[in-house]
Subunit: 498 residues, 2 copies
Amino acid sequence: MELAKRRGFIWPSFEIYGGAGGFYDFGPLGSILKNKIIRKWRELYAVGESFLEIDSPSVMPEEVLKASGHVDHFVDAMVECQKCGTAFKATDLARNVTGKDIEGMKESEMDEFLKANGVCCPDCKGEFGKVFFFNSMFKTTIGPGSQRIGYLRPETAQGIFIDFKRLQRHARGKLPFGVIQVGKGYRNEISPRQGIIRLREFTMAEAEVFFDPDNPHHPNFSRLSGEKVRLWRAEAQIAGKDTTVDVTVKEAVEKKYIHNELIAYFAALTKKFLLELGIPFEAIRFREQKPGQRAHYSSETWDAEVRTEQFGWVEVAGLANRSDYDLSRHTKFSGEDMSVTLGESGKKVLCHVVEPSYGIDRPLYCALEHAYTDEGERKYLKLKKWLAPVEVGVFPLLKRDGLSEKAVEIQDFLRSKGLLADYDESGSIGRRYARADEIGTPYCITIDHQTLADNTVTIRDRDTSRQVRASLDNLPNLLASLICDSLVFDDAGEPIKI
Amino acid sequence: MELAKRRGFIWPSFEIYGGAGGFYDFGPLGSILKNKIIRKWRELYAVGESFLEIDSPSVMPEEVLKASGHVDHFVDAMVECQKCGTAFKATDLARNVTGKDIEGMKESEMDEFLKANGVCCPDCKGEFGKVFFFNSMFKTTIGPGSQRIGYLRPETAQGIFIDFKRLQRHARGKLPFGVIQVGKGYRNEISPRQGIIRLREFTMAEAEVFFDPDNPHHPNFSRLSGEKVRLWRAEAQIAGKDTTVDVTVKEAVEKKYIHNELIAYFAALTKKFLLELGIPFEAIRFREQKPGQRAHYSSETWDAEVRTEQFGWVEVAGLANRSDYDLSRHTKFSGEDMSVTLGESGKKVLCHVVEPSYGIDRPLYCALEHAYTDEGERKYLKLKKWLAPVEVGVFPLLKRDGLSEKAVEIQDFLRSKGLLADYDESGSIGRRYARADEIGTPYCITIDHQTLADNTVTIRDRDTSRQVRASLDNLPNLLASLICDSLVFDDAGEPIKI
């Protein structure tokens, strides 16, 4: 986190005004990283799965969120210290003090639990008042006065559900079909204290897959059915065990570990996404939510979790079977019939929904943490090469003799070819390599006197520190091939002994 | 707009709940268009200008917006009908009824003006109450209770200004340097009645260029100095004339039409951006804001406007000289010294700012309107090819004989190569061409029996309806070259006579 802040990945928002918990800025490097992660996600869902994309407002009128159940159910149990007035999430307090999960309890049960365990204010040791529920949506009004109550959306999904009829026409009646949305989601957390893991404003990437409940299959299930995933089943959790099982998603369905084939398919896709970000298989598990933990709309939920040093296991995505909950609620509340008539059988059906829902901020943090490599003397980010916010460092060996000018020219040339190239002339070459390593730059090229003579540069590999000498002529293609792993470093040019 | 709604470009949000003024959804085609426009904008600013990008929250604590002046000045004059209670923007009423602009008047002057001109409620003819100012930021609270007041940001710019010191370090002290942010902006309009032109939630792309006021120059001004722009100067507007002048931006600076070289440079860049979207030069003008019209922070502002059929001249971008207004206010309100010491001279300076600020939704609408081509029988979108949400239509001539399967295979192949290909098998080939034309698809390929025999397909050009026959082997490259205009259609294959 120190490195992430210092080098411009992420930093706490509104710092000069004392900050505000639960808000983070993505700096110059972080925002490139974030854009790259979103692009990769779109590749998987918009290109790979041919899902439709929409973009709907983050401010929503109350009617929509009444229907979705969020006005009534999107609540957190909170307590206020009677001495210092600080507010806390009751479930967090219980977990931190006793290690127990009290999610799903009633207010009075929580009161008793906290009292029985002697939980007091962690800031001033004061006593707590009674537990009460606080709706964690940001509330506002649309238009002047208090004409119309609005909320900042807690999920992008509702924007998709209320457009279902238009979207289904656009998909020409085909089932299953998927719709994605990437954008901000909001949760007015009571007292967020976990940095970038618990944000009040975050970026989500959600997919809603609409299917016929009589045919809950993915047409291309076989494409991913052999992918292995690590499952932590509810059964094991209830028995207090941390035993996981490694199975292919095909086996997971056959053994009824995962009850819905679509959830199994998207678990495999989620694993692939996380591997692409550089998270190793061993640090990825799918945790089945226990009945009491599930959101109000879900009949089966698996959380994709990533192991981190700083925060333990962190939920980065959720795969939920929302059944026909949302479409039936919107049918009821809006009066608009959301059912469809199937082309082939003429059967009328209310679609069910499987939702793969991803955070973007958390996987980004996990990718950074897993990339961080401490080899004593040398500390660097071993980011996946495609993910690096600077892809090529461009260094003149000296500032004089026209080397600077040549290097700037090469930087501009590489940028014009779509490579993220960054010029750096300050300090020794060694210092510059170290600075580039620290932010995960996979390749650095150095412009020296030989460059002016024979149009070649050295290319240095971040992970091995090895160097080769290559011609400028084909440099953009060469670097692009290295970055996407279609070329091995040793084949990129003449090896250099250092 | 009918086409845009029917085919999934844009539609009013929350339709099944009766809608909410000022909110629009981007459907499956619209969201691709929007992503492409944003990508093009980033190409110009992040790649071309090497500006840094950040991504900061849309919810901001009140302190920030107190300092920026928005809490006090981001207000609209409104009146309420005393009979039906509907609220209106006073300036809109005045303009609609009298054609006059009353922006900048005091409440009492507006009252008199409306009374003198007999302005009454356009809905029920009722009389209006007194004019009063309404802050048009969406207000909310951060955390439980009313702990801390927050607003949805009216511009992304403030997120950049408050990070100035971190950003300036990241830019290694170099001046001028630029920072961009792309994201949502919000304005709680009183009664938005102009569809997608007046939105309560919109996407902005803003650039803040920090420079030394003693050296207000763009280091690469010569790169664009010869670009022609059409200016509508304040002088002409005050004289009641609609006379414009066409000048190069170099001339505009020399003749002191534009007072700041950076503004002139970014006017040229803005024109290039709009041309890329398919807006012709004749439909683009830069309107200098008259003193009374400028925002509270600006000493010189030019609006880029595009002529539309539906809404007349529409502002799509603003180029403002914000001077040191923002940095000095944040210095004062936060107590954090925002000045920098220049490396070379050791001089301490508070940077000035030139801001090129773009809407994304409006240029998108303008691009659609200008692409709409009505040739009687044939109505189609003559979108710039790179901008089309579907780049290649893929049609089997017949559903049988294995042609469908082959076409789906080709669609998947093209998609895997990054082309936006869309399979369509329903209706006659003529109907399918018409449907593709209607959404601006530049090329359609047809798979017929000959395809199975010799691996060739027909490619049809949207604008001319001409067709050529080409081999499948090199199809992705061929189509990509056609789309980016590096290949002429007639050279793409053997011409076909129809």
